[in-house]
Symmetry: C2
Subunit: 241 residues, 2 copies
Amino acid sequence: MIDADALKPLFRRWEKRSELSSADREAIAALPVTRRQFPRNAYLVREGEPPRECALLLRGTTCRQKVTVRGARQILSFHIAGDFVDLHNCLLGEADHNVQAITGAEVAVIPKAAIADVTLHHPAVGRAMWLDTLIDSSVHREWVVNVGRRNARSRISHLLCELSLRLQASGLSESLSCELQLNQQDIADATGLTDVHTNRTLHALRRDGLIGLSFRSLKVLDWQGLRNEGEFSERYLHHAA
Amino acid sequence: MIDADALKPLFRRWEKRSELSSADREAIAALPVTRRQFPRNAYLVREGEPPRECALLLRGTTCRQKVTVRGARQILSFHIAGDFVDLHNCLLGEADHNVQAITGAEVAVIPKAAIADVTLHHPAVGRAMWLDTLIDSSVHREWVVNVGRRNARSRISHLLCELSLRLQASGLSESLSCELQLNQQDIADATGLTDVHTNRTLHALRRDGLIGLSFRSLKVLDWQGLRNEGEFSERYLHHAA
DNA sequence: CGTATTGTTGAGCGTAGTCAAAGTTAGTGG
DNA sequence: CCACTAACTTTGACTACGCTCAACAATACG
């Protein structure tokens, strides 16, 4: 059982795309779950592991990431409350990347069989889940462009636009000017930059009034300004935000 | 109707993962299709378009790509014969990226409804298709790492490893030492580099005996060598290769 | 209050980008 | 078959964005 409050962000996001029946919602709420807490930086999933179950993020922020042979971390995407962190694992044989907590996080762990069951009896739910995995894919594509073809200032701006838009769309933030709980190393690893250069670029964005900076977090002050800097267009989110 | 020969690469790839019944294969072969030819550089799909149908690549090479506001192209992945170029479009409302022919290409265009029908009556086919979209996602993740955290030499080596491995796995190449029909601009756009720097890096790889170069194509001479250079591991392909 | 983590700053360097021009190759049409 | 052209490749000179290394400062937290 998952309590209604915890499911709000998920339903809010899904209903931007299509209607869910109350039976569908109840089926989700009735899923057999185990709650688990993870401290900051803990691994929820490790690359190479055979997937056992599937986790819905209830609180906090997590990321997908890989670590190269030379030890560099590349963050591949972020999860916020209401996101499934490893839905793809229900079908794939082994995890191809790590999932790591950015802030302290709480998840609802759901057995693979229960997911299979709910998608079988509630096709709309299965469809919404498949759509989620397709949107993940679209987000990855946009990140390839971000890291491959934009400079440091644009990359960071783009990232901040995406996160604040998604937080607002899930109802986790009142407005587009939100507080993001990320340290500078996280931003560096998400944008393919070093921590030092990220620090300098963030200072430039603050100087220009686009963001505010504080310890382990930053505030989006001028979303439209960041949107211009990052050449941001929300198409790739497919109304997930 | 698609002739058996044209379906070989698709089936060969799918059967690395799981068995298909002969009914499943026949259902695929019996799909109502329209064959279409595209010249080099033509667009098969344009970003923003509402998806009408779905295309299976029969011959040639195509790529997913996006063009930034400043006009830079970023290639997101390559398709080879036997790949569906826009399976995700069957569910998403509008294309989030372009699909462009790298070489002259021939595709089998399949109506969305026919895809929906075959997945309904042949769950194993639906599963294989969903798996394909999940593997696409995994490939995108690896590309984020490639572009975000590797230097020019490693990026190019990694790309060449992926392509030659996939060509061999599909039966389109006898060995891992295959000819790749790509010009240097394509390689640059796939790795987030400029054409000039790509040219210089390719020369270095040729000097070291890893590849051969010719006009609009290159030959993989030392796959293991490239594998080392590119920190390549095939896990992310999930036995699609 | 001490310590680990995170953030900041400076100096120097190097990988990759930019601009420009010349050289090649394949294709086209005369 | 050859001249012409467009696309592609190669080379050089110069630039710059972002990286590395290193030291120090600030913050949180036990």
